[in-house]
């Protein structure tokens, strides 16, 4: 699956839609979802939690493995995707859409990769 051009990306294989910096949306990429396998449990930060860029803020668990979710930037969580908590498989079936994880108010700088740079990164990781 190709990475949408309008999104930004992290080296931790998360995507960020920062069109609205007061409620930037975060999810994991199709590449990450595919590498994890079937996602069976998602632990998200709570609304109101303060995020620190690069720090763990949740977990994504698949049948075979556990991965941490990292804050893409400083900020405050304003909304979580309750649907993905109830139906973690959304991360696999629609990682860039209904499988979004949470929204946060961006407080610091966003230092992210564009789709082209992210595609290079995943190519390097094979």
């Amino acid at each position: 699956m190709s990475n949408p051009q309008n999104l930004s990306y992290t080296e931790e294989h998360e995507w960020v839609d920062a069109a609205d910096p007061a409620a930037a949306t975060v999810g994991i990429t199709a590449y990450a979802a595919n590498a994890l396998g079937d996602v069976v449990y998602v632990q998200l930060p709570a609304v109101g939690d303060n995020l620190t860029a690069g720090q763990p803020c949740g977990e994504i668990e698949s049948t075979k493995s556990v991965s941490e979710l990292y804050a893409p930037a400083d900020g405050e969580v304003v909304e979580i995707n309750e649907a993905v908590v109830d139906s973690p498989e959304l991360v696999n079936t629609d990682p860039f859409g209904d499988g979004w994880l949470f929204r946060f108010r961006v407080a610091g700088d966003l230092e992210l990769l564009d789709a082209e740079r992210y595609a290079e990164l995943t190519k390097e990781e094979g």
Partner: protein, 358 residues
């Protein structure tokens, strides 16, 4: 560089994700491992197990050599039948768990885990040295295809043209699959009825295709692990290690003290009484205890360790196997698992977690 399976190109064309497993590049999953798991429980899955080790032990004293080398009495296995057994060290520790097929009076095939195949070849060769028997590693020649699930008998009957009613669990027979001479066995590692087809590497793609055409769903090693866990079957490296005896794992029945001398006998006699037990754990919610996590008692003291765990795809709740003190091994015992800092309540339950409908 890991060794590709004889079916590597088939897997690539199916879009498989690969994993390095004991020096082999094997399919982890083709799409959704949960869908593959379900296919095995409700219809049939098709597995490439070509990484497994196949070791031939032949000669007039092949039976005597295996009786000495392994903990079971392989001389009592009739030609055409198979036995689950173990290779133990002098100190009684498990070096591998094995399925041994007796193909003829003087011909056995020992099937070893890929990760232990070299150890098993070396140990059998050394232990058979004083017997009129020959140990030959034939792993590279063999491909192994498994068809597992409630519809596997129909699929395998169609692919082989064989009548399977007489082929019991843990039995084997020569058969023809997709026009090739193969060894057909009714064995598996999923908790379902199932078959394993031993063929040459060159024959494997046609046999695979014939099984797939008749409805077996390609299934990878990811679901193989959750299937065997639900069935309460041990995995070497998790439930079985060189530090543990068969008795520790609750599998003391494979050790046959009534036969004459065998490697590990003296130590195993001493280590029969064990104060640890391998138990099943049932959890709540969706977070699974995993390999290496601590099992805690009511006072939060560590009393054991999880060996395998997953959110059970069939049952919908977390399941795990763990070593705990025998005193805490009764079904119904309440324990806790430390899941990355969170204390998750679990209950000891009888194994297996899943049994196929009769």
């Amino acid at each position: 560089m890991s060794t590709p399976s004889p079916l590597h190109e088939v897997h690539q064309s199916l879009g498989a994700s690969f994993t390095d497993f004991a020096g082999w590049s094997m399919p982890l999953r083709y799409g959704s491992e949960l869908a593959e798991h379900k296919a095995v429980r409700t219809a049939s899955g098709l597995f490439d197990l070509s990484h497994m080790g196949e070791i031939a032990v032949t000669g007039p004293q092949a039976a005597a050599a295996l009786d000495f080398a392994l903990v079971g009495t392989l001389s009592k296995v009739k030609p055409g039948r198979a036995r689950y057994t173990m290779l133990c060290a002098e100190d009684g520790g498990v070096l591998d768990d094995l399925v041994v097929y007796r193909l003829a009076d003087e011909e056995y095939m020992v099937v070893a885990n890929a990760s232990n195949a070299a150890t098993v070849v070396a140990a059998l060769t050394e232990r058979a040295a004083d017997f009129d028997a020959t140990v030959t590693d034939r792993s590279a020649e063999y491909a192994l295809i498994a068809v597992q699930g409630p519809t596997s008998a129909e699929i395998v009957a169609a692919v082989t043209g064989a009548t399977l009613d007489g082929l019991k669990y843990y039995a084997s027979m020569p058969a023809t699959a997709a026009g090739h001479d193969v060894l057909l066995a009714r064995t598996g590692y999923t908790g379902e009825d199932g078959f394993e087809i031993y063929a040459t590497a060159a024959q494997a793609p046609e046999i695979w295709a014939a099984c797939a055409e008749r409805g077996a769903t390609p299934a990878g090693l990811a679901c193989r692990d959750t299937l065997r866990l639900e069935a309460g079957m041990p995995l070497y490296g998790n439930e079985l290690t060189a530090e543990l005896t068969p008795f520790d794992a609750g599998l003391g029945r494979v050790v046959k003290f009534e036969k004459p001398e065998f490697v590990g006998r003296a130590a195993l006699e001493k280590r029969q009484e064990t104060d640890r037990a391998l138990v099943g754990l049932r959890g709540e919610g969706r977070r699974a205890p995993r390999h290496g996590y601590s099992v805690l008692d009511a006072d939060s003291a560590q009393v054991g360790t999880v060996t395998s765990g997953a959110l059970s795809p069939t049952l919908g709740h977390p399941i795990a196997m763990a070593y705990v003190p025998a005193a805490l091994s009764a079904p119904g015992t309440a324990l806790t698992v430390d899941i990355r800092g969170a204390k998750a309540p679990v209950e000891v339950v009888a194994l297996p977690f899943y049994q196929r409908p009769a």
